[in-house]
Assembly symmetry: C2
Homo-oligomer: 561 residues x 2
């Protein structure tokens, strides 16, 4: 792959302390909505702040018009919970913004807060998930779990969105083409870029241009040169040193300028090209780069004109390197009709390989990188091209098709009693009660339905028929028989500690691939996928009905007056 | 405005040290593309790293199909430049990712790097700007100014985009309606949320929900309660304390439960409402909040049903507060037909005011906040409604209409000689040479053309006709006479220091308003605006022509062989 990294093996991630510091810096506990504090104060004032409460996090629609999403951001949430504490400075700031009526003792309470009373149950990071399935359950003291809302949403929303987007690009590209994430400069803020690098790698990208993502997450970083490097040179006079030592020859430096000029003549002759249209500055840039990094020679060849200049200059320098025993890496195309250009370039590589008997020219790679969208990625499968690797920036990291996932965080239980928001907009009503979530698998090993039950119900059993209600509005009961049943969530944080090992980016990336593997292709289609079923158990269905009618004791209408 | 902040006066920003630390944490010098380092190494290896070079930053199209953009992110760029330094840990990481061929002395060079040799000339932050006008000029040692590319782009791109988006929402809303930014949970990463809060305030929003934005930038923060607060209550038994002291009455606490029940009866009677449909938990939530923050009573009233429950409960508690001498603030509507609901709510407020002789009910505010887009904001001007303030999240902060601005950073000069990228895609060609940028103003005080000249040219003069070439491809020369000429850029960073005072968010916000004020309405139209003219001087036009032909000595074709 593109120099300097030559494979996509992950390096070690930074140690957990560095990661945790990074989270504390990116997500300080004040990075939240003010109303979390006014609500927490009201709970505290009413003596309700310690009441056990349960929130659920979910999204309402699969992103990008697709049939699935990937769940991501959990690792950051776990570190966030572990480090959640207000500093003296934080509390003093809150004292200055909350209404003067706030009892000073509340600030003492905040000063002592942490997440030791919070339990997080979650779908494993990197799992394929669906709209309306509660992905995380956050249980703990009412005031604390309320305070966590905005931060957890912020950490899950974009991570899951951009990871899902990357997975779609990967599906569009097919399994073999290398995918490079190049989005940092176009990301929504510096951390948008960093988060994108992590979660697009998890979603299926191989390499990133982002050095900090390499540093923090061990993602292999890649990149060689921009057009500015090429255009900064004007003349071969600027090349220095002007010599290179052959890989396994004697130690006498070889004059590469002369050597390259010779190769350029032969290339021009072979291709019938006009030397008069070749840019000298471009040749100087390529030579300078080759002299600096002879093992990593990969250049952008469209700063002027690919056919008349860039490709000829590349071939001349690459042939020089080959003569000295080095293996040039390849080229990047960054404008024009990438497919057509790549075919031309490959033809020239093959011709050179054959004519000059240089087999290394058959291993050269071609990278394409010009405003690639999911659609243009998919087109690579239908149009003739020779592109080995694709660099994607804007459309990947900013998720132009749908730049927000819309996760929400809803209260479902207080003091062991189910809570529900019954909106005039049915889409905005919530499913009450503490739940267990099961993924039902069919006889072919494909998941076919996610079932939400009350936590107190006994789990569905493999091979046993059960009746349930699809969450689609006003659906009738259906009967289904799973071949296997998987409990979808597990406890990942409790008593102030992370209770499942934190997954590295590489581990979660592997999880994504295996989770996507089991999903039936009809749900993975990028256009018009089949809808995956999500249903509630009969007991949960009955509870919803009761609460909507107000007939449950936990949904009192004010009858006494 | 929405409690607890009662106006939109900015607080003090955090001190510069805190801001600079925040930038260092958000934008460490490794948060960049790897190729910046491979290029820097090649320059260093060739002995070219100290050559004086000039880059320009600009975007190619005004965002959102609009006629203008706002320039933002400069403040962060200035702090970034001032603090730009590699730590030992950074350099050791780079040593591990750059190709093994990298000369160890290069890492010593990196260790000693800073921006003391860099000069930044920039359009002032908050200025109305247009596509293809170079907004920043970064001059300094070639290797250093190359290394800055990704970070500067990342800091300007999203800041300018989201600031421009906010300005469009402000234009759509008109000058009087209060605008609240509520986007943190839907932002692209935590810092996307923080950046959005700063730059949407600068672009014209009044308040934010984001506490950290209040802490760092002094932006007034707002917010009272979510639906979860309302649904967490089930019964009036949960209200505690159950008393409140009147504002200027005697100190005897009053039983507000009884008082509220009395008011609720009277409200139901007045409105002919059915008490049996009123949610007791909602009333308990409102009462608890009122007891905690009697001066800041603003509730969300659609957790169940506005007309049958939320509005009645609000009125009862608000009337109780009025009786005790407090001034309730208002309500928030978060679902359904906001316009129609607001009209109903206002009617009830007026009725209560009149019937119970409570003038404070005429001052109650109504906030709307349900997936507001630029279009739905504009609709508020044509549909009957009583919405005083609008809360906007997703569409504002993620810029759903166009989630990336696409700023680029192009080399225009090395060693005093102009550089140019001549792409096969004319859109991707650059305008060479170090420039001066002038804004030409017409006799009515409206800017009508931005003129790019070579830095060495004498500036255009007011009242003197000049000939220039619009940047639209292949345009003929036009003759124009400005009434006034403004030099658009100024030096803001040099010799390692910020040379213009850093502007606070409040100052830049004022600049935005005055800059937008002078722009002719035809360029401000949200749909199909007139295109603002950008042109190059004759001298610059001639230089482009020369370089394209390769006839300039700085654009050598390889003639010798």
């Amino acid at each position: 792959m593109a120099a300097p990294s030559t494979d996509n093996t992950c390096r070690e991630e930074a140690d957990t302390t560095t990661m945790e510091r990074s989270i504390r810096e990116r997500v300080p506990p004040l990075l939240t909505d003010l109303y979390q504090f006014t609500m927490a104060y009201s709970y505290w004032r009413a003596g309700r702040h310690q009441e056990p409460a349960v929130f659920e996090l979910f999204f309402r629609d699969n992103p990008f018009g697709g049939g699935f999403s990937l769940f991501a951001g959990l690792h950051d949430c776990q570190l966030f919970l572990r480090s959640f504490r207000f500093t003296h400075e934080d509390v003093e700031f809150l004292r200055s913004v909350l209404p003067p009526a706030t009892d000073p003792a509340f600030f003492e309470f905040l000063r002592g807060l942490d997440c030791s009373g919070v339990t997080l149950r979650s779908v494993p990071e990197g799992t394929v998930v669906f709209a309306r399935v509660p992905l995380m359950e956050v249980a703990g003291p009412l005031a604390v779990v309320q305070l966590l809302e905005t931060s957890l949403l912020c950490l899950v929303n974009y991570a899951s969105l951009v990871c899902s987007n990357a997975a779609r690009f990967r599906l569009a590209a097919g399994p073999r083409r290398k995918l490079l994430e190049l989005g940092l400069r176009r990301a929504q803020g510096p951390d948008g870029g960093l988060t994108a690098s992590r979660y697009t790698h998890i979603g299926g990208f191989d390499l990133t241009s982002n050095v900090q993502a390499g540093f923090l997450f061990g993602i292999p970083a890649t990149g060689t040169m921009a057009h500015s490097f090429v255009t900064s040179f004007t003349s071969l006079e600027e090349v220095w040193p002007r010599t290179l030592v052959a890989v396994d020859g004697d130690a006498d430096p070889v004059d590469v300028i002369s050597l390259t000029k010779g190769w350029l003549s032969r290339v021009c002759e072979l291709l019938g090209a006009t030397p008069g249209k070749i840019r000298e500055g471009e040749l100087a840039a390529f030579l300078s780069y080759a002299i600096a990094y002879p093992h990593n020679f990969l250049t952008v060849i469209d700063s002027y004109n690919v056919g008349c200049s860039g490709l000829l200059n590349f071939c001349a320098v690459a042939l020089t390197l080959c003569e000295l025993g080095y293996k040039p890496v390849g080229v990047r195309l960054d404008s024009g009709d990438l497919c057509a250009l790549s075919v031309d370039v490959r033809r020239v590589f093959r011709l050179c390989s054959e004519h000059f008997s240089i087999p290394a020219f058959n291993a050269l790679i071609i990278i394409g990188s010009n405003n690639i969208s999911e659609e243009s990625m998919a087109e690579l499968n239908s149009k003739e091209n020779e592109i080995d690797a694709v660099g994607v920036g804007t459309h990947l990291v900013t998720c132009t098709k749908q730049p927000s996932l819309g996760c929400v965080y809803k209260l479902v239980e207080v003091q062991g009693r189910p809570r529900m928001k019954i909106s005039e907009d049915p889409e905005k009503s919530t499913v009450p009660g503490r739940k267990a979530v099961y993924r039902l698998i069919d006889a072919d090993g494909h998941p076919f339905l996610d079932l939400l039950c009350l936590a107190v119900e006994s789990p569905p059993e493999a091979g046993v028929a059960l009746s349930c209600y699809p969450v689609v509005h006003n659906s009738d009961a259906v009967s289904i028989t799973p071949a296997q049943v998987v409990c979808l969530r597990q406890e990942v944080f409790a008593t102030g500690e992370v209770t499942q090992p934190l997954c590295s980016a590489a581990e979660t990336r592997a999880k994504v691939q295996s989770s996507l593997q089991t999903l039936h292709p009809r749900h993975k289609r990028l256009q018009e996928p089949d809808t995956y079923s999500v249903a509630v158990s009969e007991k949960l269905h009955n509870l919803v009905t009761e609460l909507c009618k107000g007939s449950s004791s936990d949904s009192n209408f004010l009858l006494a007056n």
